[in-house]
Symmetry: C2
Subunit: 147 residues, 2 copies
Amino acid sequence: MFLKATEYALRAVIFIAQKSSVEKKLGLKEIAKAIGSPQPFTAKILQQLTSGKRIISSTRGPNGGFYISERSKMLPVYAILQAMGEDVILKKCVLGLNLCSETRPCPLHHQYKLIKPRLIKMFETKTIKSLADEIQSGNSYITNKKS
Amino acid sequence: MFLKATEYALRAVIFIAQKSSVEKKLGLKEIAKAIGSPQPFTAKILQQLTSGKRIISSTRGPNGGFYISERSKMLPVYAILQAMGEDVILKKCVLGLNLCSETRPCPLHHQYKLIKPRLIKMFETKTIKSLADEIQSGNSYITNKKS
DNA sequence: CAAATTACGGACATTTTTGTCCTTAATTAT
DNA sequence: ATAATTAAGGACAAAAATGTCCGTAATTTG
């Protein structure tokens, strides 16, 4: 559904939110290994998340790494999609029509309009923290094996 | 959500189902123009749909073109996704986890499992014919302007 | 049979996405 | 200060997706 880069971003941010704090930062290596993403590519993505919309923060040097503020943890997961420029995926007509609308619907419009808002709502109502907490409590998992 | 190629495929097949018959075939030019897709690229996609899963048929020469059998019209739209190798999009974990499952869920799994089956069901229950008929009756549209 | 029409198939080109590598900058510890 | 560590940033590379072009094959019409 999303680009690989976006999947990595979602996993990375959730992982960081679960494991890190301002005192305990996470290194690129540790993050990439945990979520099963290529290290240098992940570096680019984390950069994108620190600059721009500033979902996460970072510091350089020994004991440096990535972390996320308590404030950012309260952001909806949707914010990560926005930071990656992939929130449009959820808005588009499923057949790719530019003009698809309630008054000029594509033939799947009236079906899809029952589903699309639920998808959007999921990303809007679930916060980064809520997903991190699910992992923390052992109810779900974010680690992944490569390929 | 899907590749451009898949969007074009969906639109093209629905358009063909609405406008054509064995007696009246549609030329590549006409199809590409109607659905707002680049002509040569569309040619490749239509080829893919005639060979392989054989969703549509074609004949060469004057008055040749593309058409779809009444039998194929009864196929679910899902068959087009399969022909394009994009049905996997609907099956995947939304975070891209290889091992995401009911027993080892990603942190969005229990939310997404309420939505994903609806999406799949939409493509499985709607037939090519049913969408073509919607357009035929003027209740929806499949034509598109380029970008 | 010849000419016109139309899809087919292969090669090629461009753009986007994914991924790597290497140097630099910032920070910390010794 | 020096060295070690870590992210930042730029250049580059590979793969996939998107798109074009052109000659060929099949079919129909005259």
